[in-house]
């Protein structure tokens, strides 16, 4: 390991105060590409963590569904496929606009970035609003987990199979946690938009836009699994 012994004062000066690189290049990186790759790798590791976080719930889903298949079928029939379907489309579309915002950032088109991020955020709100309506119907009908389970159907439907409330436990956990991720996504995207407005990004530096979009794709991806598993079985 060689650290130079006799570096000149001038060289040192340059390192300390001089032209280290563009101002978005943090001092502990030598090159922009290194900073970009580190950020990207960190994000992927974080997303792997997110997937494992949800995987616990998917395993719980599988185990409980295998134990109470009728309850799962009955519970699933209470979900609103139309609303769920619309939400799927909303999220898919927002993933597209998120990807477009990255492209615009790479081209250095600041206003377009704003536009696409704005649409993505609107879609996210749309998703949550639809979810809100779905949730309130479930709550009205007493389709809730555990001790809150008091189904009262207007049309006098047949009784639910035993343990249908567990389905709703799983349903609320999965969609609730996913909804939380959507809400966090809104925060992240809004923050990126704010930074974009301040002119922090350019043709040369768009890493944060890229990472935020990656996160958003993951949120979308998880929903793509949730929708068939919960609504379509």
């Amino acid at each position: 390991m060689a650290t130079p012994t006799t570096e000149s004062a001038a060289a040192h000066d340059e390192h300390a105060h001089g032209s280290h690189g563009p101002k978005w290049l943090q001092h502990h990186f030598d090159m922009p590409v290194q900073q970009f790759e580190a950020a990207k790798l960190g994000m992927w590791a974080f997303l792997a963590q997110e997937i494992l976080f949800f995987s616990g719930l998917f395993v719980a889903y599988a185990v409980i569904r295998q134990q109470y298949p009728e309850a799962f079928a009955a519970g699933s029939h209470q979900l609103d496929k139309i609303m769920g379907g619309i939400n799927t489309i909303v999220l898919l579309f927002s993933s597209l606009t998120a990807a477009l915002s990255v492209r615009s950032a790479q081209l250095g088109k600041k206003n377009e970035v704003n536009l696409y991020l704005g649409i993505t955020i609107l879609c996210a709100f749309g998703f949550l609003i639809i979810k809100y309506f779905e949730y309130s119907t479930k709550i009205e009908h007493g389709l809730l987990p555990g001790q809150y389970w008091h189904p009262h159907m207007e049309h006098g439907h047949a009784l639910f199979p035993a343990h249908t409330h567990v389905f709703f436990g799983v349903y609320f956990m999965l969609t609730g946690l996913h909804g939380l991720h959507v809400a966090i996504g809104i925060g992240i995207l809004a923050w990126i938009m704010w930074r974009n407005n301040r002119g922090e990004f350019s043709k040369d530096y768009w890493t944060p836009v890229d990472l935020a979009a990656l996160y958003w794709h993951l949120v979308d991806l998880i929903w793509i699994y949730l929708f068939p598993l919960l609504y379509l079985i």
């Binding site: 390991m1 060689a2 060289a11 290194q34 950020a39 790798l41 949800f54 616990g56 719930l57 134990q67």
Partner: protein, 568 residues
Amino acid sequence: MTAQAGATHPTSHDHAHDDADYLRATRGFRSWAMTLDHKRIGIMYLVAVLTAFLAGGIFALIVRTELLWPGRTIVDPDTYNKAFTLHGAIMVFLFIIPSIPAALGNFFLPLMLGAKDVAFPRLNLASFYIYVFGAIFALFSIVTSAVDTGWTFYTPYSTQTGTAVIAMTLGAFILGFSSILTGVNFIATVHKLRAPGLHWKRLPLFVWSIYATSVIQVLATPVLAITLLLLIMERALTLGIFDPRLGGDPVLFQHFFWFYSHPAVYIMILPGMAVVSELIATFSRRKIFGYMFVAMSSVALALLAFLVWAHHMFVAGMSEYAVMVFSGLTFLVAIPSAVKVFNWVATLYKGSVSFESPMLYGLAFIVLFTVGGLTGLPLATIVTDVHLHDTYYVVAHFHYVMVGGTVFGFIGGLHYWWPKMTGKLYNERLAQIAFALVFTGFNVTFFTQFLLGSHGMPRRYYDYLDQYQPLHGFSSFGSYILGVGFVIMLWMFVQSLMRGAKSPPNPWGSAAFEWQTSSPPIAHNFHETPIVTRGPYDYHLATEEELYTGFPEDRVERVTAKTEKEEG
């Protein structure tokens, strides 16, 4: 190859702040609380985990004192349950998991990579505050009603007990976040911030192990997070996923819990092994025998860690085929573990070994970890496990691994790197006395528990038959010796801080990279990105200057004599 910059740097130029060591670079509370310097963050973690260790230790002594005699000794059964739960939970979540990676890893990983910092310094600081935040929740649970479930939080009891389960599990959930973010940070750092010339085959073994640990942290911790979240929701909303009264499956909770907590024991032990590899190399002045095997065995352990979780559940009602598969897989873990031990021993053999205090802990690690590992085999064997499950035998086994392994590794590393971190030397004689007490106390405490357990004493019991009293008494006596040892060690470190002699940059004559900068390191670690031209243990390639910079007299003589003997 030249000597490092810090010690011999010309003083002629004017901006001194660049040269100031990290402890003195800036001053004041704010400069620490808001620091982005990985070294300062490492020190803050160090203080935090040592505080946790002290708290956990006090609860341990309460438990041991209560068990001195059958019946009531000092506390009532409720308090006893809370004391062992808090002891376990604090030791696992607040102390042992962050100890080596977050404290020593934060400090030394970038130094060993020749980097100026970790990849994401702000995230690093955030992880620390998340840790503190989680600790506050745990503390909150203690001051409200504590928790009496054991650190495993098994359902259905944990969904029913009236104690502060939510506060404690929320605390553990938050601590998990901190652990994940540290892992993410380290993975990116190891991949992207290595100095030129530092390819994977030249990485210090410490880095390899911390890297493998980070992978486990990122992949296993989220499963614990979701499990604890489900438990919280189970209590709050009665989900019915784990609670059998509602149709849930309590064994599912155990699967989830151990899917994290078994890998977690590798989050604990791999960093211990990381430290020991460095100690063995430095104090036998030799390249680690089978370097690549040792590095790869860390990776193998990290992967195997995910496949064996259900060996904690042989008697929990799994199918017998599952039991057989998990038993078989568990034995596989012995292979990479043995690779490590054999390679360390092979390094010592023919090395010129010196027995300074860090090395004593390193050697103790090998002995105790071997005992801990071998006593794991009867637990992996189904027939014997049925007898030993949930007895003191298990308690002894995991203390040999966790304390004899990780804690000894941590303390050894603390001794070893103390001069680098603080710039001060400590009293070697006191250190050796403390070591003798800790080592003796540890064995008296926990070897006894192997006997207790195989005679049938169940763990976590408040009361016991008279026939167990002698062994219990002996074990408690050992824990007091252990306690005294730790107090002396603490005193020794405090003394070193207050009036320890100034340390030279490389007091052990190590060829490893982190010793090539000044002690304590300058704020930016290196004046310029170093170029690496040899491996960390290539003593034959290291120059005299590198090894001897600023050696205190007696050590120079000793090491020179040793090298001459080797060559002659």
